[in-house]
Structures are given as structure tokens and as C-alpha cells.
């Protein structure tokens, strides 16, 4: 049994989630290999080789893998799949785009967002916005999985796996990236942050969102997040959305400001270690999951909190 982890990377570094996927791979099977496909991505391959538990890194370089598009990558993976018992990737937009496509190409029913490995063919995954956990058993000979990164510890550094070049597949030339609007942030990555400060509709405007929340996030070294309502209203960018249909986070501390706590939002943050809610409505559902609920006007409470923290 050998497991292949598909690494998401920016050519130089691995993206958050890869190290957790390697941990899940170790629980699922025997030896773990990591595929790093891209263009000029040997630095990312070297990073993968340093992850503990990785026995071999496959490096596949071609310009048509540079964009991480699912069409060419799935075709490549379909040729590698027969050598593996499991193929898995983190459940990020990259992994969610790619793995089902691979599954269909090799006639395997993929399993999305596993949160536990109970055996080589047995996994646990959340359904219904995280309100139900279900055991899923696969009868397929090869398993295709995505992994919820917050449910697994990250594999540490200190490994020294060999890196082996593998030949590229053909360029299908049916899809190409023609534009990118990527916002570079100085803040920690939302899904990997130790502290997350999220704002909801209660912020009232994009200006308030930044003016009120940034000092708190700065003081706590936090990533910023948002409810869907806040994103839809344009207070925050789309990739700030926490929830069932956005990002899943499980930081040590989650501070929900002006967020009511709809089940779709809770689905994305209720595994946080400590939850703080700041909401003027004492009956808002967010208070039911919060370890510490502060009932009050956020426009007074948040600046006061920053002050109390000695910001």
C-alpha cells in the first residue's frame, strides 16, 4: 500500500494543508509519496521532501501544470493512480477542483473532506453543514480523498525523502488562466491562523469592518474572517468567508463580531478551541456556542477590548 499526496504550492513553498494531508496519508496506508507538479517548482519539491513521513517526492515539471488547472493535472494523476492505494489532497479550492475530476477519470467515487481515518477503506466526514458525522466505507480498489486540514496535525520538518522526476503528460489545451486578482496579505493565512477575528453584517460597512477589526486583529496577530452576509455586502473579500460553503477554520481563538451564528457560519468555526462572541443581541445563536459571550455594541466593545489588551 502506497499513498500519493498531491501538493498544492506556489513553486517555492507548500500551501497550508499539505502537511496535514501527509499526516492523514500516514494513517491511511503504508508508504507516503508526494507529487509536486508545476513549472520551476523544485523548491516546493524540496520542501515536500523535508516533511516527516514522506518516503519519496515525485517532481513533474511542465509549463502546462503552472496554473494548477484540474484538467491537465487529473489526466496526469490518472496515469499515476494504478501504482497507489490512496490519492489525497487537502480540501482547499485546489483539491476540491481536482480530486473529483480524477475520481471520475478512474471510475472511483471520491470521498470529500474526511476528518478521521478509521482504516484503509473507512473514513469519517461531516455532512449537513457539520451537524452530522458519518462513517463512509469505500468498495473501490483505489481511494480518492480530500482531507479537512483542521482535523489533522501538520507533519513536522526533518525528513529527507528522495526526489524523483516523473515525465509530464500531454497538454489538453482546453483551459487557461487569463487573469488573477490575488490579494497579498501580511496577516496569517485564515485556515492556518492561531487566532481569527471575524466580522458580520453587524459591522455595517466595509469601512467599519476595517477600522474596527484591524486594530484587534493586529493586537492578536490574527487572520481576518467574515460571515457570508459581510462578504455579500462587500465588507470583505470572498475568500474571507468562513462557513459551510466558505473556509473551515479551527483556531485556538475565534472572535465573532456582529455575527448572528447561522448554522452555515457555525459549520466553519465551531471546532475552534475558544470562541468569543461580541453581539448586542443576547439571544443571538452565536452566544450558545461561545465560551465567552459579550453582549453589547461592537462599536464600543471592540475598541475597549483593544485598549484592555494593551494594543
Amino acid at each position: 500500500m502506497t499513498v500519493l499526496v498531491i501538493a498544492e504550492h506556489d513553486n517555492n513553498e507548500l500551501k497550508p494543508g499539505v502537511a496535514q494531508a501527509v499526516t492523514a496519508a500516514g494513517l491511511a496506508g503504508g508508504e507516503t509519496h508526494v507529487l509536486v507538479a508545476g513549472a520551476n517548482c523544485s523548491a516546493a519539491a524540496a520542501a515536500a521532501a523535508r516533511l516527516q513521513g514522506v518516503a519519496r517526492v515525485l517532481l513533474c515539471e511542465a509549463t502546462h501544470y503552472a496554473d494548477g488547472g484540474a484538467e491537465n493535472l487529473a489526466a496526469l494523476l490518472a496515469t499515476l493512480a494504478p501504482g497507489y492505494s490512496h490519492l489525497l489532497a487537502a480540501a482547499t479550492p485546489f483539491g476540491k477542483n481536482l480530486m473529483p475530476r480524477l475520481g471520475a477519470l478512474i471510475d472511483v467515487a471520491p470521498i470529500s473532506e474526511i476528518v478521521a481515518v478509521e482504516g484503509p477503506s473507512s473514513f469519517v466526514r461531516p455532512i449537513y453543514a457539520g451537524n452530522v458525522l458519518v462513517k463512509v466505507d469505500s468498495t473501490d480498489a483505489i481511494k480518492v480523498l480530500t482531507v479537512r486540514a483542521t482535523a489533522f496535525a501538520a507533519a513536522g520538518d526533518g525528513g529527507a525523502a528522495g526526489i524523483e522526476a516523473v515525465p509530464a503528460g500531454p497538454d489538453l489545451a482546453v483551459s487557461r488562466v487569463i487573469g488573477r486578482e490575488i490579494v497579498k496579505s501580511e496577516r496569517p493565512e485564515l485556515t492556518a491562523a492561531r487566532v481569527v477575528v471575524s466580522g458580520g453584517r453587524g459591522m455595517g460597512s466595509g469601512e467599519n469592518y476595517h477600522k474596527v477589526l484591524e486594530p484587534l486583529a493586529d493586537r492578536l496577530g490574527a487572520a481576518l474572517g467574515a460571515s457570508r452576509a459581510a462578504v455579500d455586502a462587500g465588507f470583505a473579500p470572498n475568500d474571507y468567508q468562513v462557513g459551510q460553503t466558505g473556509k473551515i477554520v479551527a483556531p485556538e481563538l475565534y472572535v465573532a463580531v456582529g455575527i448572528s451564528g447561522a448554522i452555515q457560519h457555525l459549520a466553519g468555526m465551531k471546532d475552534s478551541k475558544v470562541i468569543v462572541a461580541i453581539n448586542k443581541d443576547p439571544d443571538a445563536p452565536i452566544h450558545q456556542v461561545a465560551d465567552y459571550g459579550l453582549v453589547g455594541d461592537l462599536f464600543e466593545a471592540v475598541p475597549a477590548l483593544v485598549k484592555e489588551l494593551g494594543g
Binding site: 477542483n97 473529483p100 452530522v132 482546453v174 487569463i178 459551510q244 481563538l253 475597549a304
Partner: protein
């Protein structure tokens, strides 16, 4: 050109589900059902493409039990021209659904298929990508903007860090994200009209598709409850608790 939109009947997003006491499944008896919200967005997008004079026909397809006709009537009321029900009484898993949709597409030859990015019951987020693979066509997942051109479609996708725009060769499969559009409400006259629109029924057997499940689901359980609900009186108490009790800040 034709646009095909798969629609799934799911539990209404406001309903909080309960697990059956024996852990054998989720209690769906007498629960309010609705069209998957992402699929309403997909229907809306398809109808707008038709209203813009680009598409000639919008076809809604659902796979599942006879009651899925309700979801198809909703799609018709929102502006789809006709509907196809692939009737099956066994639970259909995403791979089986993708194969059924592929068989329907082989017949209908749509230029564009617009799926929801995920169904809010099973949260699999798989079907559109699998359909694209089975048809050997490109995919534009998690779309927040779709612009059709000559033989191509530009899809702006919600990805980590922001947005990415891809240009795909048609035919192609697109899956909708929340911010693609705001679906219209079905008006009463349109609901009445929808009752007269054609709805054809077929079956996995007629389409020659093996829908046998590959995955088995068991031991349904609710995740451990949080013991939340405590209130603090003021900011000073909050900070003291975070420092000394929870120990999450320095």
C-alpha cells in the same frame, strides 16, 4: 445553444437535521425540502444567458425519486424551458449522478452545463467536476462570473487569496458559487405556466447507466456539543478569562 442545469432536491437550508436514534441515518420524514440554493443560482444564470439572446433553450435535469419533479417545476417556474427527471428510488451517489448527467448530455448536446458547486445536504462538491471529466470537457468551478464568447467561456473563480479567471473551450461545465447572481423569485403566473412546460421522465436503465453505490454510509452521529453559553459582564472580565482561564492570549 442549449444550457443544461442539474438541480438537486435537498433539505431546506434553514432546517437543522436530526440523526435517527439508532444512528442509521438522518431523519428526513416531514422535513421541509427545497431546491439546492446553488442550483437556483445555476438556473438563474442559465435563464439570464437565454434572456441575453445567447442560449436558445434551458433544460433542467434532476436525478432521484419521483418527488424531484417538484424541484424541476421550481426550475421551470424560474425560467427553464423543459425538464428531465431521471427517476431512481435508490440513493444516488455523486459518481452515479455524474454518469446519468453524462448520458443525458450525450443526447441533448448542451454547449454549457451549469451545476451548483455543492449540495447543502451531502456537501460533496464533486458532481460538476466528475461530469466534466466523464465528458472530457474543461471545468470552471466556484464561478462568480460567467462570460460567453465565440467558442469559449470565461469563468471567474473564487479561489484562495481572491479571484482567478479561466478561459475554457466550449462545451464546458461550470459550477456556481454564491456570488454569481441573486436568483429571482418565481411569480405566481410563472408557477402556473411551469405546470404546462414539458417534463420528460427517464431512468438509469433506459440511459444504460450502472448506479450501484460505491460508498456505504453508517454510524450517523451528531458531533460533540460545545458547552458554550457563558456570558461575561464586560471587556475587562473577557480579557481576564482569556488570559487566566482559557490561556489563549498572553
Amino acid at each position: 445553444m442549449k444550457v443544461l442545469v442539474p438541480v438537486k432536491r435537498v433539505i431546506d437550508y434553514n432546517v437543522k437535521v436530526r440523526v435517527k436514534s439508532d444512528g442509521s441515518g438522518v431523519d428526513l420524514a416531514n422535513v421541509k425540502m427545497a431546491v439546492n440554493p446553488f442550483d437556483e443560482i445555476a438556473v438563474e444564470e442559465a435563464v439570464r444567458i437565454k434572456e441575453a439572446g445567447i442560449a436558445t433553450e434551458v433544460i433542467a435535469v434532476s436525478c432521484g425519486a419521483a418527488v424531484c419533479q417538484e424541484s424541476l417545476r421550481t426550475a421551470l417556474a424560474l425560467g427553464a424551458d423543459r425538464a428531465i427527471l431521471v427517476e431512481s428510488d435508490i440513493e444516488l451517489q455523486p459518481l452515479a449522478v455524474a454518469k446519468l448527467l453524462k448520458a443525458v448530455c450525450d443526447k441533448e448536446q448542451p454547449t454549457l452545463v451549469i451545476c451548483g458547486k455543492q449540495a447543502i445536504d451531502d456537501d460533496a462538491n464533486q458532481t460538476g467536476q466528475m461530469l466534466a471529466a466523464l465528458m472530457n470537457r474543461p471545468q470552471g468551478t466556484f464561478a462568480s462570473k460567467v462570460v460567453l464568447g465565440d467558442g469559449k467561456v470565461q469563468v471567474t473563480r473564487e479561489v484562495d487569496g481572491g479571484l482567478e479567471t479561466v478561459e475554457l473551450t466550449l462545451p464546458a461545465v461550470v459550477t456556481t458559487d454564491l456570488r454569481l447572481n441573486e436568483p429571482r423569485y418565481a411569480t405566481l403566473p410563472n408557477i402556473m405556466k411551469a405546470k404546462k412546460k414539458p417534463l420528460e421522465t427517464t431512468s438509469p436503465a433506459a440511459l444504460g447507466v450502472d448506479v450501484a453505490p460505491r460508498l456505504s454510509h453508517s454510524r450517523f452521529a451528531e458531533p460533540p456539543k460545545r458547552s458554550g453559553g457563558k456570558k461575561v459582564a464586560d471587556v475587562a472580565e473577557l480579557v481576564a478569562k482569556l488570559r487566566n482561564e482559557a490561556k489563549v492570549i498572553a
